[in-house]
Amino acid sequence: MSAGVAEKTQKTIGGIRRKFAPWKDPSAVPLIRFQNVTKRFGDFIAIENLSLDIYEREFFALLGPSGCGKTTLMRMLAGFEEPNEGRITLAGEDLVGTPPYRRPVNMMFQSYALFPHMSVWDNIAFGLRQDGMEKGAVAARVEEMLKLVKLGQFAKRKPHQLSGGQRQRVALARSLAKRPKVLLLDEPLGALDKKLREETQFELMDIQMELGMTFLIVTHDQEEAMTVADRIAVMNHGKLVQVDQPAVIYEHPNSRYVADFVGDVNILDATVVSVEPGLVTVRPVAAPDMLFRIAQDCPAKVGDSVAIALRPEKLRVELDPPADASVNCLSGEIWDIGYLGDLSIYHVELPGGSRVKAAKPNLTRMVERPISWDDKVYVSFSPDAGVVLTS
């Protein structure tokens, strides 16, 4: 592929991605609707009164720790579990009671679930044959799918003769072959190593764009969700905690839980000192003689206890005090340094004994870093770096 073509494709992807936001359009009709869905397994409540709309052509991610109900939610859409209460509709049709083999959704399984006694070709053709598609059309579609996942020369192999990455592609091709209205991906890249996983994430996005399909992915890997998804739903204990675009989830988490689960974060307890439109002033518990000014509208009242979320990469670590050391600045000693190659993570111990993490990109090849263990440092940040969390 020449550089020009690559540039052009990227521009079109950018163009589509930038304009795509049906969830902001009140007239848009959702493709998938979960309405007050509850699912119980005995005494355990897996999903509690959950409502969620997913739109056509959206790449939607369900993110949460294991046991948060994300897989149950997906399996209810596939038809392997039925909700105890509530409705699940797809393109206006109620799905509850429809068996999995009559639903226009397909799933890519975490274990890939390739049929071991069938060749790659037969695996991909399996779903098409169930529909009674005629032979020529099946062959054409299978060839097209093999080309899409770049496995043309492996058509005759059995699954156990393929590498993990190749099996993952067969599973993807098989679930895409029937052109389902929705593709469900259950931790699809969990078994791949990091590099292959990152590559595949971008391929998934390209394929989704190319076929114009709706993808619903379940993952516990927040980086994966952020990379691929248009919107992310962060789940905990069977409930949605926040549903929004990746950047909003990361920069404006609505709770301690989301801030902590998505990305690395310092959470400092603080007391509200004053509230003005667009500006909150708080006093951190860990450094009572300091004030933090944070540019944000906030429902909290003076005297409320809140939490301040500070992302490590938004903190500056310096040996000299900043120009104004009276606000948005903490002083402490370097407790430990984590060298990651691209970044160095400085753990700074505050006088009270609590620690904050600050990340600093290693801009030069200098191995002898200017900041070292036990140095006295100043950690500062700008007013739009922090987030006040009231819950």
């Binding site: 596939a78 392997f80 274990s111 679930a113 169930q130 590498s163």
Partner: protein, 272 residues
Amino acid sequence: MRKGLSWFNVTSIALGFAFLYIPIILLVVYSFNASRLVTVWAGFSTHWYWQLFQNEQLLDAAWVTLRVAFITASVATVLGTMAAITLTRYGRFNGRMLFSGMIYAPLVMPEVITGLSLLLLFVAVNIDRGFWTITLAHITFTMCFVCVVVQSRLVTFDRSLEEAALDLGCPPLKTFLVVTLPIILPAVVSGWMLAFTLSLDDLVIASFTTGPGATTLPMRIYSQVRLGVTPEINAACTLLIAIVTVVVIIASIMTKRQEMERQKAERLAAAG
């Protein structure tokens, strides 16, 4: 830790094998004896095999045995597989303990008791005893063996394979036939062979449940031996040993190969 075999090991292995196999080897060797006297070797001959194939009674018995074994194995395989699926798939249904206990009881039940209780049943319901009562009895006691073999395979079966088939639009019964059954087939076939051999060499239960006109080979051999061992019986037994050996070897090779395939696939997946 690997050491060469010590003298003690060699001796104990030799004695062990001798104890197990010398009687069988003797039987096979004497089936080729030219002499009518069982204990005197008078040169190699296949005479008794010819004799055997002219013995109508023995041939009839062999034919009955084969038919019983075939029907038994087939029916027991279907029932045993169904029981195995129920036990592995339907979680903790009411009466699961009772059901599994009832399936496994014949495994440990003394044959005499199984035979006697079946005889009492057949007498009570007043069925004419013969070919079909033997077959029914054999199905009863071989089914649990099939169930054990198939169940051990189903425990390691990845259920997401079935879910994938359903998800791709394949109805449940067809899913069982085109996905589940082909994958567990080696275990099902081993189960069939096990049932076949068990039925083939059963004497006790067959004696209890038989009637006039239905004599199995083991019963015929036993009754002839009471009148004195003839080289003809040796020949019949040699053939029986050959059949059982072949079937057992095939069954164990199939299970072994299936296990090796699985391990190979798992290794490849790990190397991925």
